[in-house]
């Protein structure tokens, strides 16, 4: 049965996607929420076992709408670079074709394996991204997929993005609990069933980003000169019902180039990044826009943080149109954090707390956008990419 939430406010058009993306986190029983015409009423279904929670869920939906909209300040989206022309007439969703060709397999929500053609494509991106990193004399680094809870606490990530966290635990060092676990653990078709008392506390999480490790590396230090590094990492962000094929993964690969130093240095690198990113997307023969953007901060502080980020133009996204859906997908982002991480990790320069910035390319998303625009037949791909596939 369909239930409804009547909102105290009209959700502005520019916030409707942001609003709908928050709703899956409100209740495990909530399904298929949609904003009705007029943007002040939400229809939703309740999953079996949650039928008596309509009023409570409607109240939470209304609260989210109020928090997002009451302090909303309409921002300006600036376009920094743009290529409108799609490279082909291909308009299909590549997912079914890639499954048919054995190029992707879905292991579970947000978890995909990639086949040889997609690996070759992402290796091409990797070659180009590392060339870009060399232009900045960025040193190569490697970081773990696990990140300390202390690191994410120090930079307020735990408070700003709680819904996307992936807590890691292990079994406690307790022989009888381990024996009981080994005897009783089983998969019930949806989740692992075991005695939660056997679980440890949370010391680490799966890392949501690459650059946080670098700031922790430099904590409590004074930089003699600006520094640039680059690293490829697996990143993890739980996205609930928003997990959608290669568009929105739980577990994805990101190449970052990270800058730290005085504000002027970081801002200069950011300017160069916009131009080099546009050049890379041109080489890939893709349609794209590089625009100002905001992060999906937790709903309680979204309006304020998004206004700040928009006002100071701290985030730029590399958006690629997906012809099969008409939507645009962020395949990368360029971020300027001002002195936030410098202060959070006590990293100083001669000019005060260090400023930081980074670019991150999401390889699976970039591959999807490339295939959505060019098609899955490599004969139709740009020469540079085909040469790489054949010559390595």
């Amino acid at each position: 049965m369909t239930s409804f939430a009547d909102l105290e406010t009209v959700v502005p058009a520019e916030l409707s996607d942001e609003f709908l993306k928050r709703l899956p986190y409100l209740s495990e029983g909530l399904g298929n929420p949609r904003l009705l015409p007029g943007a002040s009423r939400v229809a939703f279904e309740l999953r079996p076992g949650f039928e008596d929670q309509a009023e409570a869920v409607a109240g939470r939906i209304s609260e989210v709408a109020f928090k997002l909209c009451a302090n909303h300040r309409p921002g300006i989206t600036k376009i920094l670079a743009k290529q409108d022309s799609l490279p082909s007439t291909f308009r299909e969703d590549p997912h079914p074709l890639l499954i048919e060709q054995g190029e992707i397999v879905e292991f579970g929500r947000g978890r995909f394996g990639l086949g040889p053609k997609l690996m070759a494509l992402t290796e091409f991106f990797e070659v180009r991204a590392r060339q870009m990193a060399r232009e900045f004399q960025a040193e190569p680094r490697s970081f773990p997929s696990l990140i300390g809870a202390d690191v994410l606490d120090r930079c307020r990530y735990l408070k700003n993005f709680p819904s996307s966290l992936n807590l890691v635990c292990h079994l406690r060092e307790d022989h009888s609990l381990l024996q009981e676990f080994a005897r009783s653990v089983h998969w019930d078709g949806k989740q692992l069933v075991y005695n939660p008392a056997a679980s440890s506390g949370v010391e680490c999480l799966l890392s949501p980003s690459v650059c946080f490790h670098w700031y922790m590396w430099l904590k409590d230090s004074r930089l003699a000169h600006p520094r640039a590094i680059t690293a490829l990492g697996k990143c993890f962000r739980y996205e609930s019902a928003n997990l959608t094929g290669l568009e929105r993964l739980w577990d994805f690969s990101m190449r970052e180039i990270v800058f730290i130093g005085p504000a002027k240095y970081v801002l200069n690198q950011r300017t160069a990044l916009v131009s080099l990113s546009a050049h890379l997307l041109d080489e890939l023969g893709m349609a794209y826009e590089i625009t100002t953007a905001t992060d999906p901060f937790f709903v309680d502080s979204y309006a304020v943080q998004a206004a700040y980020q928009n006002g100071f133009e701290l985030k730029h996204e590399l958006l690629a149109p997906l012809p099969y859906s008409g939507r645009k997908l962020a395949v990368g982002s360029i971020n300027y954090h001002q002195d936030f991480f410098g202060r959070s990790f006590a990293i100083e320069t001669n000019d005060g707390p260090a400023h930081t910035g980074c670019i991150g390319f999401g390889y699976e998303r970039l591959a999807l956008a490339f295939l959505a625009q060019h098609g899955v037949d490599e004969k139709n791909w740009p020469d540079a990419v085909r040469r790489h596939l054949h010559e390595g």
């Binding site: 300040r73 921002g75 700040y308 006002g311 100071f312 001002q338 002195d339 202060r343």
Partner: protein, 88 residues
């Protein structure tokens, strides 16, 4: 020359900033500036903005936020905030 009204506005701005940042031991001669006043960093800035908005009954669009770095610049921004720029 600073008029009596301008001085009054600057005083209201000063008091709003102090309320927002909860800065201890500030007297009328202490300069208040984003980046150098304790607490007035990227996180504190939005507290300052919201307190200023509350004090003056305005809502400032995001693109004006970077202008608000000290008392004179806030006064100037408020002065040039047209009725169209006021959302409340």
């Amino acid at each position: 020359m600073t008029t009596k009204t301008e001085a009054g506005i600057e005083q209201r701005i000063r008091e709003a900033i102090i309320r927002a940042l909860r800065v201890p031991g500030v007297d009328s001669s202490t300069p208040l500036q984003m980046g150098s006043t304790p607490g007035w960093d990227s996180m504190g800035h939005m507290s300052v903005v919201m307190e200023i908005e509350k004090e003056f009954g305005v809502r400032l669009p995001p693109y004006r936020l970077p202008e608000l770095v000290d008392i004179p610049s806030i006064a100037k921004t408020l002065e040039t905030t047209s009725p169209q720029g006021r959302f409340n």
